[in-house]
């Protein structure tokens, strides 16, 4: 356990003290291998939640031989409780574009796409202006890389990278079988890097500060700073940039309202941590996180919270695979039946087992992650499920 004090950092969200495009200019003067190595050494992991090592992803993409490759910035943040990408794209978009461009340059890709969730359409006008600035800059420095926006149409599952690609190809956003991964066979069958907004911004920061400096932040498990979307029963709702490694206890002390009974770490696809585990749970250790943290105080019914989550999953499952499509419905119907007394409380055990089946047998991360919140809430707040 590498517990750290809660510490605010100001890397990603700080205003441009050094122009991100200067970082880009400096970076593309170096050798590609060196930059990819730097990215590997920085230990940066995907910031969307899955936590795949970014440097490795770039390396694999750079090794693919193809006439065309794509860099896709996943701005389809649909996880309830997550809004950090909105903040990044409204406040420091150039860090994102610079990170995308570096990724493009390092892997010989010339096309970048920002897949923006439909709910953020009001941001398109401003983003397009910024993209124009970027595209002109790229031309100016002789970098063959351009970015455009692809607007989603409202489907949580499109945050899953292969579903996102299907959607860009004009199809239903149903996740693909993997392998092959997008790095081998992505958008239009070409090698594709799909990365989270914060990941690209962080990559730009790695290039600015260098891996040696970057690894000083965070835990052994995860380096760097992390943006947290904090909502719920907190007087400090909003996006906060923190160093990974603090305990929930410290976190709650800083952001709770003094009456916190549970914290949902990682959005509805993450875990719900009850008060009795606040001390021993370190954020960023063991589990990666997209940074969504929802705080619940003692007035909240955890049954109601879980019901709300399950409603969400029942609707947002793409519906193609059995465990997720039917499993989500069963979990919802099951807790209702227990609450109403139609099923014995022991039925909750059966449902937890089912959620474990969903975890190991679902096709994509959506179905696989339902068990996280389900099992943690049902186990830790069992009385609330029954009475």
């Amino acid at each position: 356990m590498t517990k750290k004090q809660l510490k605010r950092v100001d890397i990603i969200l700080s205003p441009y003290s050094v122009s991100p495009y200067q970082v880009l200019i400096n970076t593309v003067k170096r050798s590609k291998d060196e930059v990819i190595k730097e990215m590997i050494n920085s230990g940066l992991r995907g910031r969307g939640g899955a936590g795949f090592p970014t440097g490795l992803k770039w390396k694999l993409a750079s090794e693919q031989i193809s006439d065309e490759k794509y860099i896709i910035c996943n701005a389809d943040e649909g996880e309830p409780g997550t809004f950090k990408d909105r903040k990044i794209l409204s406040e420091v978009p150039r860090k994102v574009f610079s990170g995308m461009a570096i990724a493009g340059w390092a892997t010989n890709s010339t096309k970048g796409v920002v897949y923006l969730r439909r709910e953020y359409k009001y941001m398109v006008a401003d983003l397009e202006k910024e993209i124009e600035v970027f595209n002109n800059k790229a031309k100016e420095i002789g970098l063959d890389f351009s970015i455009n926006i692809f607007l989603g149409a409202g489907a949580y599952v499109c945050g899953e990278e292969t579903a996102l690609i299907e959607s860009m190809e004009g199809k239903r956003g149903e996740p693909r079988n993997k392998p092959p991964y997008p790095i081998q066979n992505g958008f239009k069958g070409k090698p594709t890097i799909v990365g989270n907004v914060e990941t690209f911004a962080s990559a730009s920061m790695v290039c600015r500060y260098g891996a040696d400096e970057y690894v000083k932040f965070g835990t052994n498990d995860q380096h760097g700073s992390k943006l947290f979307s904090i909502s719920g029963d907190s007087p400090k709702e909003g996006v906060h940039e923190l160093e990974l490694g603090m305990s929930i206890e410290d976190f709650v002390h800083e952001f709770g309202d003094g009456d916190t009974k549970a914290v949902q770490v990682g959005g509805v696809a993450g875990f719900c941590v009850p008060r009795k585990h606040f001390k021993t749970t370190i954020i960023g250790e063991g589990q990666t996180t997209g940074g969504a943290t929802m705080i619940f105080n003692s007035t909240r019914s955890m049954y109601h919270v879980l019901h709300n989550y399950l409603d969400f999953f029942v609707e947002e499952s793409c519906g193609q695979c059995t465990p997720c499509r039917v499993g989500t419905q069963q979990l919802l119907k099951g807790i209702e039946a227990v609450k109403l007394g139609e099923k014995e409380p022991e039925y909750l055990e059966q449902l937890i087992k089912l959620s474990q089946t969903m975890k190991v047998a679902s096709k994509c991360g959506l179905g696989q992650s339902v068990a996280n919140s389900f099992a943690s809430i049902v186990t830790n707040f069992k009385e609330e499920m029954i009475y």
Binding site: V314, E316, Q320, C321, P323, R325, K363
Partner: protein, 593 residues
Amino acid sequence: MSVNLKIDGINVSVEKGSTILDAAKKINIKIPTLCHHEDLCVAGNCRVCIVEVEGKNKLEASCATPAEEGMIIKTNTPKIRNARKDIISLLVSEHNTQCTTCYRSTNCELQALSSEHNIDHERFLSVLKPHTKIDKSSWSIEKDDSKCVRCQRCVRTCAELQHVNALTVSGKGKEMKISTFLNLPFSDVVCTNCGQCITHCPTGALTERRYFDEVWEAIGDPTKHVVVNTAPSVRVALGEMLGMPVGTRVTGKMVTALKKMGIDAVLDTDFTADLTIIEEGHELLTRLKSVLVDGDTSVKLPMMTSCSPGWVKFIEHMYPEYLGHLSSCKSPQQMFGALTKTYYAEKNNINPKDIVSIAIMPCAAKKFEANRPEMRDSGYQDIDAGLTTRELGHMIKQAGLNFAELEDTKYDSFMGDSTGAAVIFGATGGVMEAALRTAYEVVTGREVPFKNLNILPVRGLEGIKEATIKIEGCLPAWSFLEGAELKIAVAHGLINARQIMDMIVAGECPYHFIEVMACPGGCIGGGGQPIPTNNEIRLKRIKAIYDEDEGMPIRKSHENPEVTKIYADFLEKPLGHTSHKLLHTKYRKRNRY
């Protein structure tokens, strides 16, 4: 390149690109599946075929996971069994489990899985949507969403095998379902009625519209004279419905069974298949003459066959501007119907209004075809009911007949004579082969220059087959064909038909005559045939068809004595006035979307 892996302790080596499921099959390890079908691309969505891959916590769908060097796989562990049981239970929980009244009972993949895995009905609550309405709008196909397991086999079939795309997946989450455009009734969409979705459906969600109750009524009605004609491919597949091995030829038993059921006359569609060859062969020769000699631009080449009603409806929807390429010949079923209520009625002195004419077909589209308003040239509905091979199988069971023990009986006459040429109509390439056996001889006076009359280039399961036949030594009447090279092609499966049509549209079609069958493998793989159907089964049925042909004393349509007689007694000559009235038809443009 090959990869080596270990499954349940057994080493196996497979081609790179094979799946874990393929590898397991190779060493006879059976992994249960549901959404998987040999004919279709991988979906990996039912998750029934999950296995453990050493080093991974997740279970992998074996149908969708490539075999990799050094993999260590387990297919039967407590972890897998528990998960699989959950998954099958989930499928059952959203399923209409009234198996006792399901047409597919005992032939249902979900039922088999559920029974094999001893699924407890109470494991989960039912999430079956109440009050789903069965779509019975189509003459051919019924869709019951309450029995759908959402494996998408039908959607993939409609797209990959047929390129019709009448079916899609709509909605998401719990609202996700298999749907037509706007969820319109089948009768209103671009469905060709081929029925391939039915033969690929693992459950009773998609079935043919059944007519056997009406048929039993007619049989029981003493005032009705019930006539049946049976299609060539039924005789090589019906046995599968009744516990016999795939590829068993049951022609004689089938006739006996029909007679025992109380059918008044059991006749052979082969008779009108032979008649089709005469009419269609002459139509082709006439078209060739019009184009090559008279330079008539209104006559279209290539000419395309019209015996497959799924194909006919496909071209009516998708390429209505090219209907002129279709032969005007009715299908053998409809020729049979028109003649039954005219020629047959007259010869047997039966009032045609008392005849109930039934066709036993390998086909779902034949039901629609029988109900086309233009198919009333006898003055009555020419065919009263089209039944599938499966329906006949059910009727034989309903009648309590011990099929395997039945003796052989010959077809009644007349309109019961057959030739080898007619029998092979049942396999892809068969119509072409039969046509060539006759047309070549008509033109040259000699048999087709193929050993033992077997025109091998047009046989087999390749999607599009082609051949060129040089015509030499013509009889004087056909001298304009001297030295001509007749180019022919055979396509089966509508996706292949579409390729041919696109060649025609692009003006790049080199052929004179093309046979198209809607279903993969031709009629032996029809939408009304026993389930399952896959390539292994198709090949066995095809072999049975050619064996039947080889065993026939007459193997050329123009030598069928009843055919000769009907021209002498009734039709006068091919393409003559009566022929035109009864044996030829017109097509119509249908909506494309």
